[in-house]
Amino acid sequence: MRLADFIVIPSVIPELKATDRNGVIRELVQTLADHSALPQEAVETVARSAITRENQGSTGFGKGVAVPHVKHASIPKMVATIGRSSAGVDFAALDRAPVYTVVLLLSPASDPDGHLGAMERIFRHLQRDNFRRFLRQADTREMIQELILEADEMA
């Protein structure tokens, strides 16, 4: 599996408008719907589920990244997007540090194994200091796209 197989690149947000956790999740769910990667009528349910999931345990695993995610029956296929915040967002991360890169992953409820595969791919790259650093600095969609495609090539 490659990142570009599920990250909907046109929906990537190089500078998030929202400054709080729930707002960021809503903005990212909405951008996926705006790019036809999720039915518009599913936006509210999916955003609320992702927030509920986040309340059960932060997906801010440290090092300035968070990967909010949700599995839900109203999600037709696995899709993800990325939002970047230069100011940083409080995700109640494990290391208590602000989050600058948010990867939102939406998966159909029927495919838990696909979800694990995508999480593996995402964390495989987020483990790398350079990938995290460049992603945090990338302030255009084109730069983020380039990083994703480069990452897929080396994997």
Binding site: Q56, G57, T59, F61, G62, K63, V67, H69, K71, L94, P112, D113, H115, L116, G117, M119, E120, F123, R124, L126, Q127
Partner: protein, 105 residues
């Protein structure tokens, strides 16, 4: 220094996703021993003989543990090293074996 090893199978439907990982980390953190994990692949998923252990990850790091990609039915080897190694593998194997309290597959 004691070393203890256990092999367990993932039994919950959704596999080793983020919330079970956090439960594992929280429990692993209560032991002084180091905890390392690897996915075991091989005939009938039995670790020995003929099985091969994959990448080894730190059982106290959530970001590393999500690299295991361990769905329902996968087999994991837990290795603990330290004074409480035996208690650590015992408790951690129990957590996995009970499916982290989630719906079983």
């Amino acid at each position: 220094m004691t070393r203890a090893v256990r092999t367990v199978t993932i039994v919950n439907r959704e596999g080793l996703h983020a919330r079970p990982v956090m439960k594992f980390i929280d429990l692993a953190g209560t032991f002084a021993s180091t905890v390392r994990l690897s996915k075991v692949t091989g005939p009938q998923r039995h670790p020995q003989p003929g099985g091969t252990a994959g990448e080894v990850v730190d059982g106290k790091s959530p970001m590393e543990m999500l690299l295991l990609e361990a769905p329902l039915g996968s087999c994991l080897q837990i290795v603990a090293e330290g004074a409480d190694a035996e208690q650590a593998v015992e408790a951690l194997a129990k957590l996995i074996g009970e499916g982290f309290g989630e719906e079983l597959g």
